[in-house]
């Protein structure tokens, strides 16, 4: 599964578990404008760390902060590239 589809799938799974209604998950969806709240976000970051071994949130610059789903995918993409390097 690609990183993008992993992120999208985890967002959908967490939203379902937490009983949040989500619009279709696309790259330009702004996550904090939806019902996806801080707990959902925290779970997503923990699961992505379990799946990829990367936690790009623990060391990041202000301009890296993800606003959209696409930003988040890009953040994990960069973390994966860093790990591979």
């Amino acid at each position: 599964m690609s990183l993008r589809s992993t992120v999208h799938a985890e967002i959908a799974a967490i939203a379902a578990e937490q009983e949040k209604r989500m619009p279709p998950i696309t790259d330009d969806l702004v996550m904090l404008d939806t019902e996806f709240d801080s707990l959902c976000f925290a779970l997503l970051v923990a699961r992505m760390e379990d799946l990829t071994g990367a936690d790009p949130f623990s060391e990041m610059e202000a301009e890296d902060l993800p606003v959209t789903v696409g930003d988040l995918v890009a953040l994990y993409d960069r973390a994966a590239a860093k790990q591979a390097a």
Partner: protein, 454 residues
């Protein structure tokens, strides 16, 4: 010191306001509005429970009731009915100030009630000192009630200084919690305008509203700020003063805030419902300077057995209700339960001695979660710990020793099943975010789980 009297004496209320997600009110109107003699009479000298939904209603009632009643017990939002009942009992409430959002019709049968709108018009010059009772952010069971004086609550605030012109305060917190109440008092004792949040309001909407209202001074927990930092609406804010409290502020969140608001003064405060405001750190680095240990004006800080102790006028006075647990030691020091470690000239926070996990400000007692995890047929024993998390500071992680003979051919599915087992039995933030299988868990010589792990 009485809140409304101070505001009446301060004058210069023109242009100051109190706003929430629904409305904006002139502070002068709230303070100078006509008083309701009948409501004043019903409430005068009473022990009062304040159970309203929104923060505007709470703020107006607090201004009307301080100095009129003998005790004001604040019900924080979102509390289960049985916990509201417990706070009513512990505070020995004689009457409840309510609205439909804050108290169900059938709650607290037998306790007289008065509508918050009427109560907000109460207020007579009695000169009585009202005792304030605040709920701790509960772990298991009901929150504890801590009695404070208004002087003690305001002890960390420089009430003599005139506010910087144009100051507008706001906080992500609820003003019925210790951290939020500090902001309410800062605004009212200055006086300045104040923008109130609402727990159901999306982060984006609050940021847009705060920015539009010209907020200059703003307080949140590190978790509040981490979320705000990820909102596209963060640029609506241009604060002069950014404050963090309520959780450990790590270097990452401090650096991110510094980058987002390079022009702002930034401070992280150490405070708790029981211990009051301990100190404030303004150098933008995590932890606190070792030089803060010792005695300074109005406060003494000590480290004993790796934990922080505080003695000052700002700490709570005592617990209310049935608990026999003393709030402070015989020498007047309050044990904060927060573990610290000295590295060079700086102390760093390690977490809670009790193992209590702070999930974005919501406390989780590990034993409560372990008891539920252990009910799963495949689980022999478990240990629940904080797992560091960049969004909420920590989430819950369960280490599990499986029962002999449990089919663990598909570990991922079994982990999911254990988490799914917890979900209907625990509130959301207590459900483990992850499960790790381990061969065994260390026990102390007394047979207890070893909890204190670096």
């Amino acid at each position: 010191m009485i809140l409304r009297e101070r505001l009446l004496a301060a004058g210069g209320l023109d242009g100051l306001f109190l706003s929430d997600h629904r409305e904006r009110r002139d502070l002068a109107g709230i303070v100078h509005g006509p008083r309701d003699a009948a409501a004043s009479e019903r409430l005068s000298g009473k022990r009062v429970l304040l159970a309203v939904g929104g923060q505007m209603a709470a703020a107006r009632a607090m201004l009307a009731l301080d100095g009129l009643i003998s005790r004001l017990a604040l019900v924080p939002p979102g509390l289960a009915p049985e916990h509201i009942a417990r706070i009513a009992a512990d505070s020995e409430a004689e009457i409840v100030v309510f609205d439909a959002e804050g108290l169900p019709d059938d709650a607290l049968p037998g306790l007289p009630r008065i509508d918050a709108e009427a109560a907000s018009a109460a207020g007579a010059e009695t000169g009585r000192e009202t005792e304030w009772a605040l709920a701790t952010s509960g772990t298991t069971g009901a929150p504890k009630l801590v009695a404070h004086t208004l002087e003690g609550l305001a002890g960390g605030i420089n009430t003599a200084a005139a506010p910087e012109p144009g100051t507008v305060w706001s906080t992500f917190y609820d003003i019925r919690r210790y951290g939020g109440l500090q902001v309410f008092l800062r605004a009212m004792l200055a006086p300045t305008s104040l923008v109130l949040s609402d727990r159901h309001e999306p982060v984006r909407d609050y940021l847009v509203r705060a920015g539009g209202a010209g907020v200059t001074h703003i307080l949140g927990t590190p978790s509040h700020w981490r979320l705000a930092l990820m909102s596209a609406a963060l640029d609506r804010l241009s604060p002069r003063y950014v404050r963090l409290s309520g959780e450990i502020a790590d270097q990452t969140v401090l650096d991110l805030l510094r980058a987002a608001f390079p022009q702002a003064r930034m401070a992280h405060a150490y405070a708790s419902t029981e211990g009051g405001v301990g100190f404030t750190v303004e150098d933008g680095r995590e932890g606190f300077p070792a030089a803060l240990i010792g005695t300074r004006a109005g406060i003494e800080i000590a480290v004993r057995d790796d934990a922080l102790y505080v003695r000052s006028r700002r700490t709570g006075r005592r617990y209310l209700g049935g608990t026999t647990e003393p709030l402070m030691a015989e020498d007047g020091f309050v044990d904060t339960g927060d573990l610290v470690e000295r590295r060079g000239e700086r102390y760093h926070f390690l977490g809670r001695r009790s193992g209590v996990i702070n999930v974005g400000g919501a406390k989780v007692q590990p034993e409560e979660v372990e008891a539920v995890v252990n009910l799963h047929p495949g689980v022999s024993m478990s240990r629940v710990r904080a797992r560091p998390n960049p969004i909420l500071g920590a989430v819950v992680e369960a280490e599990v020793v499986l029962r002999a003979g449990t089919d663990a051919a598909d570990p991922a599915a079994l982990k999911k099943a254990i988490i799914a087992h917890c979900r209907p039995r625990l509130s959301q933030h207590k459900v483990p975010a992850s499960v790790r299988f381990v061969d065994n868990l260390p026990l102390t010589s007394g047979g207890k789980l070893v909890r204190r792990v670096p």
